[in-house]
Assembly symmetry: C2
Homo-oligomer: 171 residues x 2
Amino acid sequence: MAKVAIVMTDLFEDVEYTSPREAIDNAGHETVLIGPEKGTTVKGKQGDVEAEIELGIDDAKVEDYDALFIPGGFSPDELRSDERFLEFVRQFDREKKDIYTICHGPQLLVNADVLRGKDATAVEQVGVDVTNAGGNYIDHAVVIDKSGLISSRTPDDLPQFNEAIVNALNK
Amino acid sequence: MAKVAIVMTDLFEDVEYTSPREAIDNAGHETVLIGPEKGTTVKGKQGDVEAEIELGIDDAKVEDYDALFIPGGFSPDELRSDERFLEFVRQFDREKKDIYTICHGPQLLVNADVLRGKDATAVEQVGVDVTNAGGNYIDHAVVIDKSGLISSRTPDDLPQFNEAIVNALNK
């Protein structure tokens, strides 16, 4: 069983949180929702989903997790303004742990400066940011980099994205 | 009198639209709100302001304007996914007309690829995107580039931002 840290705050893309989390949980792995502050409720941008933050970033330890998942929406732009999340991401990268991201999720990777030389995808307009940050932007439903970075573009890619991350976690 | 094109869609940062527009109008200049479709209502992310799009981007002509203004919020990220807005911005840049932007506004300039070699500021997390896009990010309340690009960081900078853009329009 693997343990996955999900980092998220308000205005996440609802289904980009619920669908992968469900897929990971259903495969028998563990997920923990990490946000700015434990016990607060964060809301999806579509208004469909509310989620309670299970662990505050100040109490989150990278050593407790096998992988990091960053849902999309406007949440990643907010998280990337917070140095605590940037350092959390950098530590996953340094320790060569898997990172899963979809849609606007790579914005957090841009500001953590962990994209250089890596294959990644994102929602189209964020693709420019990926390229500018030294990443190799690829317009595919799911892109798997040898570093363990797995990325997808939009909610339409969720079936392939979920399959790819569950396969990685099962290994 | 100068004429200013404002480009905006949903989830704009309310006061970053209302305050500069009021300052420009009060100085005796003209403003036109341009969005994806004429007659639609766009809403601010704070829920304070609604605005009706006065001209659709398909009918907007750069030759009719002296300057372009891009309010912040999540609106610029949406606009930068639309090639029509990217080309509109590029044409202002090519014709060396003024461009005014605040907060997340430079995201539209990143995707239009018009920041190379220019001094600009933005909200802190977008500063990385500005640098990665070849701009010279400066953490000042207002940054005036010799190209006519005037930029600010957040709503706190609005007094200096409004003064700078009105001064530029009055010349």
